[in-house]
């Protein structure tokens, strides 16, 4: 129930922010559209704690702030190596263990790895994430577990 409410609210915000036309006709069409989409979403079975992470709402902004910093730092290093050329890169592929319990947590962790330039989560099997990285230092940083810990904190 709470997920339906959450979905309807986000959809309503999406419509209102995008629309820019607030005549009664358009608003009522918007309401009908939202109801229809929520109905379809229920029928498709895409309304649950995975798709609507209500419990994460308060914690996500802090995590994304930290992630943005990481992305900027990683960008600088990758840009440097693009200009320095192929001799300076040390591509590595290895597995990293993820300590998250839920699927949602694993997906956030894997997506954060991919979003950070220099590392790509190639595959996710059980709790092992196969990571390809441009530099071997990146893998070392991942293995140190800072990101893993932060995502795990997000789950609780």
């Amino acid at each position: 129930m709470i997920h339906t409410l959450y979905l309807s609210l986000t959809l309503a915000a999406f419509w209102l922010l995008n629309s820019g036309h607030y005549s009664p006709l358009i608003l009522s069409l918007g309401a009908i559209s939202i109801a229809f989409v929520v109905y379809l979403a229920h029928k498709m079975d895409v309304v649950d704690h995975e798709a609507q992470p209500v419990h994460l709402t308060l914690k996500l902004p802090g995590y994304y702030f930290w992630l943005t910093q990481q992305i900027i730092l990683a960008n600088i290093s990758v840009v440097k190596h693009i200009w320095l050329g192929n001799k300076t890169i040390t591509p590595t592929m290895t597995t990293v263990k993820s300590s998250q319990k839920t699927d949602m947590g694993k997906v956030i962790y894997a997506n954060s790895i991919t979003l950070t330039p220099g590392t790509i989560a190639v595959d996710l099997i059980g709790d092992q994430i196969i990571v390809h990285s441009l530099l071997s230092e990146n893998i070392e940083a991942l293995k140190a577990g800072e990101m893993d810990r932060r995502v795990r904190q997000l789950e609780h």
Partner: protein, 334 residues
């Protein structure tokens, strides 16, 4: 190039490129359609076809150089022909002297309510849906016919025993594509709502039934690809969607009939309401809805039948493979 898949990828780039070109020419609505149809759905259907027929072209016996020469010659002639044409945007061009000035005067320039005949800020929508209502009706009929054609040629006969096998394949796929599955779960409601937003804001900005239908169908196609065709079939009833494709055309046509019954011409929306602007507005809204319904259903029908054929073939192949391996085993025993 013999690799058809590479050709499909490059044609996707071509679609994106031509849409950017339309944007530079200020043809927003055309760019919108090109984005959703040219770069999106047609690439997707091409990929499905390649998956069915195989990736590599057979070696051809004829020489392509003659065809290339003819194409080149025609191209040169066409470019030579454009030299005689008026410059782009020239006020003396025939396109700007015939009916276009009246359309524009009636819609854009006549912002004054008493002059404005259509009352829709987006000129393209006004022209396509109101002045050119007949042509658009024809287009919808063409799309509907395409859907019927695909149904007639490719409709899959499904046997119930295959369902269990397909469901098992889907189950294994779920675990494999965990990340994509969750991302798409989050995304799908927003794609659907965005399609409806495009549908209903066609009066104000770029958009309308065609684009909205394609985006709406894209959401279903995404769902079918990630969650399996049989799950998607359970959500979207096949019979219902075939009926909806017809209903879309019927909605469009019946708007025309209502205006005839009110003593006006076919598709004259002024007849729908005592206030002519309100009538135009209502008429355009309803026919765009009809267009959207037909386009969505036909796209979904086409994709489902293509993909269903593929899935059936795979199921058959695995059946024959099992039989042949069984045969092998028995032979060894003998």
């Amino acid at each position: 190039m013999k690799d058809l898949l590479a050709v499909a990828m490059l044609s996707g780039i071509y679609g994106l490129l031509s849409a950017s070109f339309f944007v530079t020419m200020d043809a927003v609505d055309v760019a919108f359609t090109e984005a959703s149809v040219g770069a999106g759905i047609s690439t997707l259907l091409m990929l499905t076809t390649i998956a069915i027929v195989g990736r590599f072209e057979r070696s051809q016996r004829h020489k392509p150089s003659l065809a290339l020469a003819v194409t080149f010659f025609t191209g040169v002639l066409l470019i030579y022909g454009t030299l005689d044409m008026p410059y782009f945007g020239s006020p003396n061009a025939p396109a700007n002297q015939h009916v276009a000035p009246q359309y524009l005067n009636d819609t854009v320039l006549g912002q004054d309510k008493s002059v404005n005949q259509v009352g829709v800020p987006n000129v393209v929508t006004a022209v396509l849906a109101s002045y050119r209502g007949f042509d658009t009706f024809g287009e919808v009929a063409v799309i509907f016919t395409a859907g019927i054609g695909v149904l007639a040629l490719l409709a899959v006969v499904r046997r119930p025993e295959e369902d269990a096998k397909i469901a098992a394949i889907n189950e294994s796929m779920h675990q494999k594509n965990l990340i994509l599955r969750i991302v798409i779960k989050v995304l799908i409601p927003f794609i659907l709502l965005f399609a409806l937003y495009v549908q209903f804001h066609g009066d104000y900005g770029p958009g309308g039934g065609f684009q909205a239908g394609v985006i709406f169908a894209a959401a279903f196609i995404l769902y079918a690809m990630l969650f399996g065709l049989s799950t998607a079939r359970r959500v979207i009833n096949q019979t219902l969607i075939q009926i909806l494709a017809a209903i879309g055309v019927l909605i469009y046509g019946s708007v025309g009939l209502v205006s005839i019954l009110n003593g006006r011409n076919f598709l004259d929306y002024n007849a729908l309401s005592s206030d002519s602007i309100a009538g135009q507005h209502l008429g355009i809204l309803v026919i765009e809805l009809g267009v959207g319904i037909t386009v969505t259903s036909v796209m979904v029908i086409i994709f489902f039948n293509f993909a269903g054929r593929l899935e059936n073939r795979e199921a058959n192949e695995s059946v024959t493979r099992n039989i042949s391996s069984d045969g092998h085993v028995t032979k060894e025993k003998l």
